[in-house]
Every structure is written in C-alpha cells, then in structure tokens.
C-alpha cells in the first residue's frame, strides 16, 4: 500500500551514513564535562591518535555510576570521590585515577538578598541564605554536585530536607536545568565553574562566593572492571585512561578555555 511505500521511501532517504564501523568505547560521564565543551575539545586528538572513537553518555554522576555498574560503559569519568572509591572497592571498577579538578561556585542574583557576595566561606554563605529564607535551587539528583552541596549543608547544621518546598527547591534535574530554574526563580545555586562559564542563560546571576577549599571539585577516571563485565573493551578503555592522565591529555585539559578562562586543571600524578 501507498502508506508503506511512503515509509520505505522516507526511511531510505533518512539512512544516514552514520554506521561507524570502527572501534569505539563508551564513556559514562557527567554533564559538566560535556556541557562545558571540554570533551568536544579534547576527544578528537585522542580519536585521531588511536582510531578509537569515544562515545559519551553525559548524565549525573550518580546515574553514570549506576549505568557503569550495570556494565553499560567501558570507562567512567565523574566527580564524586567517595562514590568513586566505593565503586572501585565493590569491584565494579579496576582503579581510580585523578584526572583534573575545578571548583564549585555559588551563583546568585545581583540583588543578593542573603548578602553573601564577595565571601570566601561557602558554609557561612549557605547559613546566611538559610537564615534569610532566600531561595536556593538544588540539583536534588544525587549527582556529584548535589553530593558536594549536601556535604556543605551538613556543615551548616541547616536541615534542608525540612526546608524543601519552601526556600529550598530541589529540581531533581541536571546542572543546566537547575541553573535555568535558579535564574528564573532568582535563587542561589551551587554549580561547577566549568558549566557556569559555558552556560548561556546566566540572566542577572553572577558568581558570589568562590575560593573556599571546601569547594574543591576533583574528577576521577575509572576503567569498568572486565572481570565483572567481560564485554568491556579493557584495552581501548585503558588506552583512553592512559592518554587522559598522560602528558597529552593533561595538556589538552590545561589548554581548554571557556571565554578565555581555564576551567579545568589537570591533576594526574606522575605515573
């Protein structure tokens, strides 16, 4: 029938030559590495050097770790150190390697109702936000950023669970969606510097608090354990990890700029 013919014609027309046959690995990573443009900037060099295509699935750290546990990925690149170490300790990953770090920043509206601008003490700033009942937008998704944020709240002694729905808004979404919400609500948001730098919808928001050592945000890379998941391409995965933590990868990370500013800092130790 004619309808079926139509589908067939459309399908054939739409057959893209995207059927890449070459070797590839699957990288479970976080939105910050993708949204900032870092991976787009550094991966072509690795792919050109090795012929191994890196396919990136960018989700929150929590989801990336769970996907990797199920074997849906060869390499994990995330930022939640305690969760990463637990992942390796449980046998899901081979070993954790430092890759780079950046830092979290507290962004907020220019009128700054909690008066935290210019501060360098993240815990004090959060306590001030809570005291002012000023709106705060949280990821609320067990991502690396969310876990870091909860650790800071724990230090303030503020019970954010009790404030949820009031001044404390859990979006349950990715960094970008939470920033969009935060800008819309004139709310404070804790974000990583790279995502913020590359974010295109800043509205009137600016960085208000930065530089607190507690805002340190390290990224680790882990090979998914082929003993647990035999289909993992350990050779290609390890090649990627070696490159990323080696001189070329580290230099590529250091060279990456968003609007002229460095947002990731290589941290792999000499191997």
């Amino acid at each position: 029938m004619r309808m079926i013919f139509l589908f067939l014609a459309g399908w054939l027309a739409a057959m893209a030559p995207a059927l890449a046959g070459e070797r590839h690995i699957l990288l479970q990573s976080t939105t910050s590495t993708q949204n900032s443009g870092l991976l787009d900037a550094i991966l072509p060099a690795f792919e050109a050097a090795t012929g191994i295509e890196v396919r990136v699935v960018a989700v929150g750290t929590g989801q990336a770790i769970r996907n990797a546990e199920r074997g849906d990925g060869d390499v994990l690149l995330v930022h939640a150190r305690a969760a990463e170490e637990a992942f390796v300790a449980a046998g899901w990953g081979v070993a954790r390697h430092d890759v780079m770090f950046n830092d979290f920043v507290l962004v907020g509206p220019q009128d700054d109702p909690a008066g935290i601008a210019g501060g360098a003490d993240a815990v004090a700033a959060l306590a001030a936000i809570a005291a002012a009942d000023a709106p705060f937008a949280s990821r609320g998704d067990r991502s690396g950023t969310h876990l870091a944020e909860l650790a800071l709240w724990a230090d303030t002694g503020v019970d954010v669970a009790a404030a949820s729905g009031g001044w404390y808004r859990e979006t349950g979404s990715g960094m970008g969606a939470t920033l969009n919400t935060g800008v819309g609500l004139d709310a404070y948001v804790l974000t990583d510097r790279a995502t913020w730098a590359a974010f295109g919808n800043k509205g009137g928001h600016t960085i208000l608090v930065e530089g607190d050592p507690r805002l340190h945000n390290p990224y680790g890379v882990i090979l998914v354990n082929p003993a647990r998941h035999p289909h993992v391409d350990a050779e290609a995965g390890q090649a990627f990890i070696d490159w990323l933590t080696g001189p070329e990868g580290q230099a590529a990370i250091a060279d990456f700029r968003v609007d002229g500013a460095q947002v990731f800092f290589p941290s792999a130790g000499p191997s």
Partner: protein, 237 residues
Amino acid sequence: MTGFGETLGQALWLILSGDADLWAIILLSLRVSLTALAIATLIGLPLGAALAVGRFPGRRTVITIVSAMMGLPPVVVGLAVYLMLSASGPFGIFDLLYTPAAMIIAQVVLVTPIVAALSRQVIADLHTDLAEQLDSFGLRPLARIPTLLWEGRTSLMTVVLAGFGRAIAEVGAVIIVGGNINHVTRVMTTAIALETSKGNLTLALALGTVLITMAIAINALVGVLGARARSGVPAHA
C-alpha cells in the same frame, strides 16, 4: 532571553547554512522515527483492526489496556527498555543499548498503542457501515480487515501521522536508551534538551523550530500523497 524574531532567524540560518552536524541529526531523527513508525504501523493497524472486528474473550480488556497505553510516559518506557537492553539486562548480549536500534525499539513501544487504539476506533466506525455488505460478500470478520484498512485509509493516514508526531517529538525515552551520543544517537529532541541544559535557549528554540518545520513538511507530504490517493484510481489489488 532574546526575541522570537532572532530565534526564527537563527532557525532559518541553521537550515539554510546546510550545517553537516545539524543535517546528520535531522536525518537520524527521521530514520529512527520513520522506522519506528513503520514497525508500529505494521503491528498497530492489523491489531487495531482485529480489535475492531474480532470477537474473542478478553477483547474489552485488551482494548482498555491498549487505550491506556497511549498515555505511557516516555521516561518509563525509556527506563524499561534500558533495563531490557542494558549489559546486565536480559537482552544485553545484543549490544543494542546506546544505538539507534534501541531508540527505535523505545519509540515502537510508545507509538504502537496510539496507532492500534486510534485505528481501532476508525475501523470500528467503518465496520458499523460495512459489516453487512462485507458479510454478504462472504467475508468473515477477520477477512474483512484488508478491505476495511483500505476503506479507512484517509482517517488512518491521520492516525499514522499522530503516531509520527509522538515519535518525532519524544525525548524522555530516546535520551535514556540512546544516551544522546554525538554523531551516534543524537536526534533533534535530545539535541534540544542538551542545548537547553547548556543555557543556549535561543539555539534550543531554533532547533525546535527546525523540528516543527520538519513535522510540517512531513504532514504536507502525506497530505499531497493522500489527496492523490483519494482522487486517483487506487492501485490496491
């Protein structure tokens, strides 16, 4: 946010500039959704017709379930398909997760109930008018299905377009099972989601405009073919 005019301008520029990445994304969207639609139609139309004319125990229950499944949340479907196709899932050995095939599977699950439930209604109404005449020609209920499908072709075309709309516009399922991998599984909707999360709202809206333009083009194409099918002598044997 910037004005709507600027968005439209950017959308136009995106289309006209022939950006290779954008075209790859558009073609992948079409390939995934049209394939899913073809499969869903091949399953859904006969199923809908069988539910319309068949008489068997449990028929009402099946109809209720199929109708309810029209409202399946894409995220739930995506999650279910993900768990099936995951390396640790029952179909993990096929290595389909994060491929266009996985996205097609998820969209088939989403679209088939729409095609089946809506076509059942179309065919049932048609059957009310034609049942005696077809019975008179010695056609038993299930044997009437090809005739009914052809008789209802105009309305069924709309049904199929509704299914296409669901498939092409859906993001919740394909982003989970496809992973929004650049050059591999990135389609229009996941690209829009990505640009939104980057805060590039103008670009996201421009991509959305491209998506809508695409949908209009497909609908117009089907409309033209449909008009031709109505006016001409059908080739149906």
